[in-house]
Amino acid sequence: MTVLEPPATRSARFGWALIDSLTIAGRTYSRLRAQPGELAGFLVFPIIMTVLFGYVFGSAITLPGGGDYRSYLMPGIFMQVAALTAVAAATAVSEDMALGLIDRFRAQPIARGAVLVGRSVADLSIHLLSVAMMALCGVVIAGWRPHGSPLETLAGFGLLALFAYAMIWIGTYIGLFVKSGAQADAATFGWLFPLTFLANAFVPLEGLPSWLRPIADWNPMSAVVSAARLLFGNPGSAAASWPLRHPVTSTICWSVLILAVFVPLAVRRYRTATS
């Protein structure tokens, strides 16, 4: 066999990175095909949340500004599912670490960062599939409708996807530190899940005690939910804080900030990771 050489030119290097990322993404899809139950889980969880919150909480909560609670709720559930992408990302990365797969990848001439980028893109595409299911389910079961223009609707889903992608990188970074899938779950779900409730996703913020209110006002998740409600034309609540008065800008800023911090951190950690 002839001995291969790494690419010499910048464009060859880029092509290399692209192919490596696609190979890694392909791995995620193959895993999913081998484990259809996992995919079902991704799709069913949001549906359960929609029904559970829509009909259980919805029966007790009335919105201060009026409007249908289930229409108010849907953007909140979209955000929650986007935020929890970090859990799956962390679990998967930590399992690869524990198995020694990350070592194998690192001893191969794979483009820098391609393993993590490939994974994150595949995770995002699976997340989008589950968002599509959820939207369908929202329309059929909960009577949810986006009332904005098609472009606004698309922008709403685009912002949610941007936020989800940022969360995937937080999960990736955490996954490179913990020792097992169970630890990864605890190190992400443990604080993320409560945090999704410390926001305007499920209840209007007006009723919160005054010491809790600023946290919820400045929680990036609140901005994401407000932005989605704005772009979908769904009922919202009065915005007291700057981020909630400019939810689209805030969501973009938060997501870009998270990516700017966690992508380099994760790639650096990956390059020195020890399993």
Binding site: P6, G26, S30, R104, P109, I110
Partner: protein
Amino acid sequence: MIYAEGLRKRYGAVDALKGVDLEVPQGTVCGLLGPNGAGKTTVVRILTTLLRPDGGTARVAGCDVVADADRLRYRIGLAGQHAAVDELLTGQRNLVMFGRLYHLPRRTARRRAGELLERFGLAEAADRPVKTYSGGMRRRLDLAASLIVAPPVLFLDEPTTGLDPRSRLALWDLLRELVSEGTTVLLTTQYLDEADHLADQIVVVDSGRVVASGSPSALKGKVGGGRVSIAFRDAGDLSAGIEVVRGVLPGEPEIDRGERRLAVPVEDGAASLIKVATALDAAGIPVDDLGLRRPTLDEVFLRLTEVTAA
């Protein structure tokens, strides 16, 4: 093929490597022998580009491990302590994926996967998910994955830990075959036996330092041939036995009266055993148990560290 000089590595306050030198000629097997925490894995991780050394230099297959890491990665294979393969994918999918990550064209990657599965006796299991494989099959797949580009240098970090004896022997055979084809191998092991069977040269490391190196027979010469151990029926036989043993062997017997046992350190194990057996038989002393105990790894380390300390 592998050359390292003065490798140093610190983890926080711990000096994992305190200046390790290594030289492995092409087509030979070097066994890196040492207890847990001796620094064996750290050496392998530095030589396979997974870890940057804090000091010293190393070249593998003509490439500097730091400056030339990407070129080097095309020239080495690494099989670690775990079977580093995707449990959910089939054996075939795993190998094709790793081949693609070496930037082999898709068809070449498929062909190579097929060849390796065949060679490693995994052709029938090729389309089964790896989670259904036995431990030995996983290790073979792991080894196959590290051989995709037929690298001239192969690193094996405790390749047979956790394998049953049969799988271990099968893996040894595969390794010998690769070496006969010209592959240079660095393997770490905790088993003296394994290093003895496979290695042309053994390097013993302890606490981040090389404490001894040489051919297996040279090292065994330093360590000695083990001890002859005899168990007697009763105290009378033991006393008579001690006299007989003293008559035929130069070593001073260690006596355990409670267990009615004695043990004598010997240099030429099997020959001494035959002498003792013949002498005891001639004297008509019955024994419960008679055997040659090979030096344990602990004894090897004790002896070798004593030698370097002196």
